[in-house]
Symmetry: C2
Subunit: 326 residues, 2 copies
């Protein structure tokens, strides 16, 4: 118990450092000619969010031997700014009404302002990332290009019941996983670590990111009313998450046809049908097992890093993220 | 005559170098995992456009003493990629159907794909700009942040008949002028020129960019059917261009009321009314004079640079841009 408290305290210390830097960035922009753009962007920037990318960025830097956290803060800011930029734009075409407990930018300020605010966040993110060496800059912009590719691929597979697990991993590796891997690996490079260490942290980020996305897939199917997490957004949008892909592959005959019908003509009154079918195919358990595998591999990678307090914290983050409910 | 031909040939040589680099960038992306995003982006990238930003970038580099054009090519690419990114996003909320003679991305591929393609172009643009020193990176991202601010300011003044010339310059300095000034100044820094030379080229870009935007304002009012340039887009959208702002300031009494009515309730059958009023206020002539002043100042700035073939070419570009019809 004391240990868990101490873990939380030590994570909070890093998160607070990050929040201070973010608030100071927002404050500076508000006192500059950029104020009209920051007025729009600050609500979503400061509304919280899990801050997992900057947290892992800071921890990776320390685990890779970095000793002055201020060195990696621009990278941490860059990861959160670019992530928020993509959220603002995603919310537009996903027609999401709420984000981080507040109305989305496009629903409160309209399409044009949301597009512009997202572009502004991109320029801030690149400004912070652009302070590092060419290798880091290339990795960051390549991760952003791959987000675009992953999103386009996802559109291609909307409602596509023949989507394979390989398609699925191509989509999430671009959209979600790449930014985690890139943050962790770049943080190691900023710490002056060897390419080997950077590669290991890249792999850690990959395993972590995949577990993270699979947890998201499960949460979309279970929801959690007590946490204000709605369920079924992906199903309604026709997004092919791994539990659905697994069920479509596993079921046969009448059950497969039933599932295809439920997914192609989904509405909220068909939840029970969907859950019965996922029960038969054991798809939720299958995905839980995959999450466990990804987390196990993430922990194994950490084990091969030199021992450090940051490494222990990264293990905790990996373990806790498996159980998150939002 | 021989001289003009030779000017054109020398400009074309630089433009061809740029097009080759751009084509090679597109080609590389098409053979990478980014292909799905580049498939969307390449049409608008390769559809032409005036390429004024990269051209001035290359010429500024040479005029500032740069001797190896390949050094500045990433900056030239960056300026065109970022410019194209903003065009793709602008076209969405301006609801433009055509760009560079082709259907706009959102009209051919839908909202989501156009947002994503713009984001992808941003990441490519920042990747190229991010190869330079911190000072250059900061100037580029600051120019992008100011584009966002300029666009938001422009929205605030849509249909606002009390828009002042100061408001107007704040809008265009962010949206249009900043990227020109920034390209020219950064090119000087890349050439290793002194801060003085970089500042002068920044001023050149500012004067050039303002003249460029004012010519745009006039073209919107006159159009040129022979060049396929439609007229009145700004007027229909309620954008307060300088000829309109001047006329609203100059006219009084019944004429001012008439103009306010025409602008607030504009339709294509009111062109004659609008042109008569602009005739009375002499606003087109006033703006032509301003354009002349900006070009004169741009030329004066060039005169204080060391003599060079590139400097002569920049004068020609400034003079020719005054007479452009698209």
């Amino acid at each position: 118990m004391a240990t868990m408290l101490s873990v939380k305290r030590r994570l909070d210390r890093r998160l607070n450092l990050f929040e201070e830097s973010l608030e100071s960035l927002v404050h500076d922009a508000m006192s500059s000619s950029e104020a009209p753009a920051m007025v729009l962007a600050r609500d979503v920037l400061l509304a919280g969010g899990k801050r997992l990318r900057p947290l892992l960025c800071i921890l990776s830097y320390e685990a890779a031997g970095g000793e002055d956290v201020s060195e990696v803060m621009d990278l941490a800011l860059s990861s959160e700014l670019l992530h928020t930029a993509t959220l603002v734009h995603d919310d537009i075409y996903d027609q999401s009404k709420f984000r981080r407990g507040r109305p989305t930018l496009h629903s409160s300020h309209g399409l044009s302002h949301a597009i512009i605010a997202g572009d502004y966040l991109f320029s801030l993110g690149f400004a912070r990332g652009g302070r590092y060496d060419l290798e880091v800059v290339d990795m960051i912009s390549s991760a952003c290009a791959n987000i675009a590719t992953g999103e386009l691929l996802q559109f291609d597979h909307i409602g596509d019941l023949s989507t394979t697990p390989e398609d699925y991993y191509s989509i999430i590796d671009g959209k979600t996983v790449g930014p985690f891997s890139t943050s962790c690996a770049c943080a190691a490079l900023v710490a002056g670590a060897s390419q080997d260490i950077a590669d290991m942290l890249y792999e850690f980020g990959t395993e972590f990111g995949r577990a993270f996305q699979l947890v998201d897939d499960l949460l979309d199917l279970t929801g959690d009313p007590s946490m204000g997490k709605p369920r079924g957004t992906d199903v309604h949008e026709g997004k092919m998450t791994l539990p659905l892909i697994h069920a479509l592959t596993t079921l046969h005959g009448a059950e497969r046809e039933h599932l295809a019908d439920v997914l192609s003509n989904f509405s909220d009154d068909r939840w029970n049908e969907l859950h019965s079918l996922l029960e038969i195919s054991d798809s939720m358990e299958y995905v839980k097992q995959l999450i466990q595998n990804h987390v196990d591999r993430a922990l194994e990678i950490l084990d091969s890093l030199p021992d450090s307090p940051a490494r222990e914290l990264m293990s905790e983050v990996a373990l806790v993220s498996k159980k998150r409910r939002i």
